[in-house]
Symmetry: D2
Subunit: 397 residues, 4 copies
């Protein structure tokens, strides 16, 4: 048993953290200006391009993608090695991940293409995504149903000769307002009568396919999130794509979604820890600066209590995230599902609590962080669904 | 001991609730359209004027103001009688209170003028406020200090012959972006060397006084809140106003602020309960409609648990609010300070928790409600300051 | 709406509270000595008799029993009027209630006899109970089943000519170790095939009936509770009693149990509040006496926070208890079931939390109080069952 | 980074766990019988001796003691290696640790002697302790003061020629009722005027020294804990011991106490995890056996939620304990103080919560476990003191 990162990881983390501190965080104000100057724009921000170029030069690029770098074009880090780097990017949720081309939902989409894509699909979509030439969206959630139950999906993907025809309405498709998002991975049903988890398939839909209508942007806890392409409501109205746009086979959609979720969830958790550490650092700074009732805030009992509780939660949960990463590395994502579920529930909830208390001390400046974390708790099924599932497994004899 | 409202109150509440249900809530979509059509506008919304006119016709007007209606122009309700009406308006935080001319910060400002204003001040400002001809703002919070400690206030109000000269920077001045907000009540120090709670004074500053600069709008948890005039950063740069614009005497600012806070806080609590009840009703509706894993959401144990816990919290806290109102009515605001402090801490916190869990079931549609309630927990001093104060009192021998 | 108790209630409460403070609390040490001197004895403590005699002289007797005093022999208080008196007795859970002949389970048993007993049953058992000449037990819980589901009851009550024959095993029969407990009210099934809630009946079983075997005393959270007769495991081995010992009719057992539970639960809640107030008072005293790290404990932020949170919880929950009492008085126990369920869940849980934190400050001296309160949370069905039931009702359309 | 235990540790853990399951847990009933048969006896239980003999034969002996086995007579395990073994013993808090001669307070006392004892002290006391020929107690806590502040200690250790004279009153001296406890380590002040943390010294006091009076047994949350020697109040009335009984030098008491606390705390945490796992296993078994409302308890949502939450807490906290152990092994106890403090706060609190909820499902059978864990939260200073200290460190710039 060894709780130390290897030397290469420590060095890379240091580099990543320095980048975030020196480049990403200061760039947030630049991004604000660019956002303010172009109130109708949803992507293609110059500052993002600059950061990406600089990060790529420093070898801080596509670090999320495990596997042989020769094959994947990634960096070949294990999940354990990637963890502290992802955490570093979480200090600037707006610019850290995207600077390293490690931002959701592109990461998940790249993984899907990497794991399940045909050579042609990889050529057409994975390569430009790995180069940040295009971006992508993942179209899963639908209006008016409990999306945590995959059998509720209403979008249809019907075979018609050499094509599939897609019809349905999706929302909260993150990133899809950004015109750079050239491709959507859409989840729909190819066979509603099949066995519960074989009804669904996934298909690649180019943004410019006829019948794709970006209806409107939605806000997440008050934020339009124009930084990264927002959250779109999209109608697919008899959209025809060639049959080779299907990912893997018919009925594989649920399995691909499950495969995609593991890394996606742990990456969110890793970054969330960084966000929480940033909040702790901001509070610490302010608590030592400001005075109330004759003492610094840092000398008030309740502030100390907060700092201690935050530290305990972060240390324990970071270890749980790392152990989960280690399991994914050593026994595979499938056998780490219980742990993935555990961190998916526990980390955003704890980080939300930490941020909530930080806001009491530091004020509304942390509200955007809060909204980002808060949304994770319903992003792919509310916590409660995962708790019930984890509990069922735990009680199974 | 009697837990029933009197008949007149029940009748008025029913009327108020019907108004909110039939007019205010459906009008929210109209307001959204007006907001979307005028993205640079911060007030003067036609739908608000229409609601106000209709509410006034129905006698649902200025119900917040206690005291003899002949003198105050209010309705002469006790706090206990106003409580269920305020709760009804809380079902539509955006349009309920303003429809009845019972929205913060105007209510607090009207109370200050009613209780401490000279006849001339009442003529000039209270009368048009009671008629909703103008609106107002309250300028208290300042950047970069712990505002919960009143000795931290940096704004200066200096006497200069027949005038006072005001200099300072305020932010989170709610409503001040709205050009209808014709007057600001500004808290500043007239004598920084006086005893701790005699340093501050309050003064009326017309919006159009030279030197008043509305710097920019701030957002609260992601929301600009253009509905009701947003939250402004304001610079007062050697603003000169006649000496008779001072409210009460020099050094009375802290005492006025305290007097203003009692009713302001309990009104927020009353409305918050209505907001929570609305969220509970929305969840209930959805939980019976939607299915997951073969049952309605209402049949899932965790949803029942949520519903039960919410009901318990709301029933207990409503009673605490009502008892506080009853104390204010019977022994006065000053002797109800402990109870006011208790509800100020407990109600928004519980309602936030109820909304947080409601969001897990009902999704982001409740996010704006959440942001509104969340902001109450730091609005006039973070909960923690009030907890410490309440605890000190409780432990005093 | 009126939150003040009437004058008579205030006066009686003052009297009751003075008695508890001056007689019951100081008598606890005497009881300890009597317990230590007679380690095998389970009741008939001289100090209890003395307190009862004195309380009865002062008119502090049977105050729990509502209804016409001429008929019931009680004091004819409403539930609202009894609430603060019961709270006073809760300051000394060991001696307060029993001194006033208001201790569970006798109170519940007296209510059952008062409401459902025949004149002969009242003569034989209710009269001596009202005079504290005998005590009683209630035999409901059984080993190895989830007793919260009444259909799980295994004890049989079979008709045999002019008699009923009772067979079964009960445990946690509070008070039954005390030889003064002359009669047991036993819940069993007369018809296992009847409709779910018509299977059960209740019957009076004299302690000395052949076949009644007191197997052993059980402890509750480490306490044998010899003060009040402990908690017995009892075997009923073909116990024959005359048929007129049945309470009400066959199949009425569940309904009687439900009727018994309402008052029983609210009385527990009332007393619990007093126990919590006592703990708060003890902590307050100690926090002002003791020093750590250069300040009194009362000056530490975390102690203030505790005191404030305890105060908020107690004030809110007391009001919920009082409102429930008022509903029982005005619309009847049946229509107050939701509120009774709410306080049954919320009050012991909050008081446990208050005591848990008090123990951090005051040490193990509060452990017996803690055990008493803790046991309420599983006493007649765990909280979780009540939460689910309350939630189901709340979500019903 | 590696989350796997080494093979030797896994094998030893399996052996330890098998012993606990096959010998210690079944022996609890035997111990109950021996306790019942000798109600005045406080130690020297035959079943304990038998278990110890058997465990020693299996090499499950003194595993807690790190360092070279040749020198210490221990097993030379690292803290990381000992962790899962200690956890296994925690499944039977009453008999697991003592069977392996790894029970508090002897472990801490052996460590003190091992680290700070003179050869003569080791010969006289450490050797028989390592052989379980005698037991010991640690006399630190005093009545009527906040013991978490070491300057509050009132016991005096005065030099008088070749002797020290000890005077003072201690309580909650765990194990001291057991006549086998042949030696007490007593904390007192040798120089009340010295610098804050140099006032205290520790000294070895033989049980049979004149002036040592065992006043009475105290209970911990209702339990006398006769299993392991209970908790004694002790008066030291001018007790004279030779000067060479002092441990290390005058003024070293605080430093020794700190050194003793690290391992003591982490051992408690390790065992607590095992206790919680045992409770989870018991609940799981029962939840699958019992039915309520037409389903097994395991199928109820609230039970699943409990199981999931317990699992998450246990996994995260076990990792934090292991990391702390690893830090102690690699950088030393002193530099692991923050982590030790963190687990000292977090683990017993979480385990208490897990047990509290387990009791709702499994009933009072877990009450003794609960009492044991609960007492840890005040055992060497209440959580709140440690939280404040941890928070202070965390906020230090």
């Amino acid at each position: 048993m060894d709780f130390a990162h290897d030397g290469a990881t420590l060095a890379l983390t240091e580099r990543a953290f320095a980048f975030v501190r020196e480049h990403a965080l200061p760039a947030e104000r630049v991004l604000d200006e660019q956002l303010a100057a172009h109130p109708e724009q949803w992507g293609d921000w110059p500052i993002v391009k600059q950061l990406q170029e600089r990060a790529r030069e420093q070898g801080l690029w596509n670090l999320f993608l495990p596997g042989d770098p020769e094959v994947t074009g990634g960096a070949g880090l294990t999940n354990v090695q990637y963890a502290p780097i992802a955490e570093a990017t979480g200090w600037s949720p707006r610019l850290g991940p995207v600077a390293f081309n490690c931002a959701a939902p592109d990461t998940g989409n790249m993984e899907v293409l990497n794991d399940f894509g045909t050579p042609a699909q990889k050529d057409q979509w994975l390569r430009p995504l790995l180069n940040a030439q295009i971006r992508s969206a993942f179209c899963m959630t639908e209006p008016a149903v409990a999306s945590s139950d995959a059998t509720n999906i209403g979008t249809r993907i019907g075979r018609d000769g050499d094509h599939y025809v897609i019809s349905g309405r999706k929302w909260w498709s993150t990133g899809a307002m950004n015109p750079e998002a050239a491709v959507f991975i859409v989840m729909g049903k190819t066979d509603p009568d099949a066995e519960r988890h074989r009804q669904q398939s996934m298909i690649l839909v180019p943004r410019d396919a006829p019948g794709v209508e970006i209806v409107r942007p939605l806000t997440v806890f008050g934020y339009a999130d124009r930084d990264h392409g927002g959250h779109a409501e999209i109608v697919f109205d008899d959209v025809r794509v060639p049959a080779d746009h299907l990912i893997a086979g018919e009925g594989d959609g649920f399995a691909i979604a499950q495969a995609r979720l593991g890394p996606g969830r742990i990456h969110h958790c890793m970054r969330s820890l960084g966000t929480a550490e940033h909040a702790v650092a901001l509070v610490k700074e302010r608590a030592n600066e400001r005075h109330a009732f004759g003492r610094t805030l840092a000398e008030h009992g309740v502030v100390r209590e907060w700092a201690a509780e935050s530290r305990i939660q972060l240390e324990a949960l970071r270890l749980l995230v790392l152990k989960t990463a280690w399991l994914m590395d050593t026994v595979g994502n499938r056998r780490a599902m219980t742990e993935i579920q555990a961190i998916k529930i526990a980390v955003p909830r704890a980080v939300q609590q930490i941020l909530d208390r930080a806001i009491q001390l530091h004020g509304g400046a942390l509200a955007e962080m809060f909204a980002g974390i808060r949304s994770l708790r319903i992003a792919d099924g509310p916590d409660e669904v995962h708790l019930a599932s984890l509990g069922r497994a735990e009680l199974r004899e």
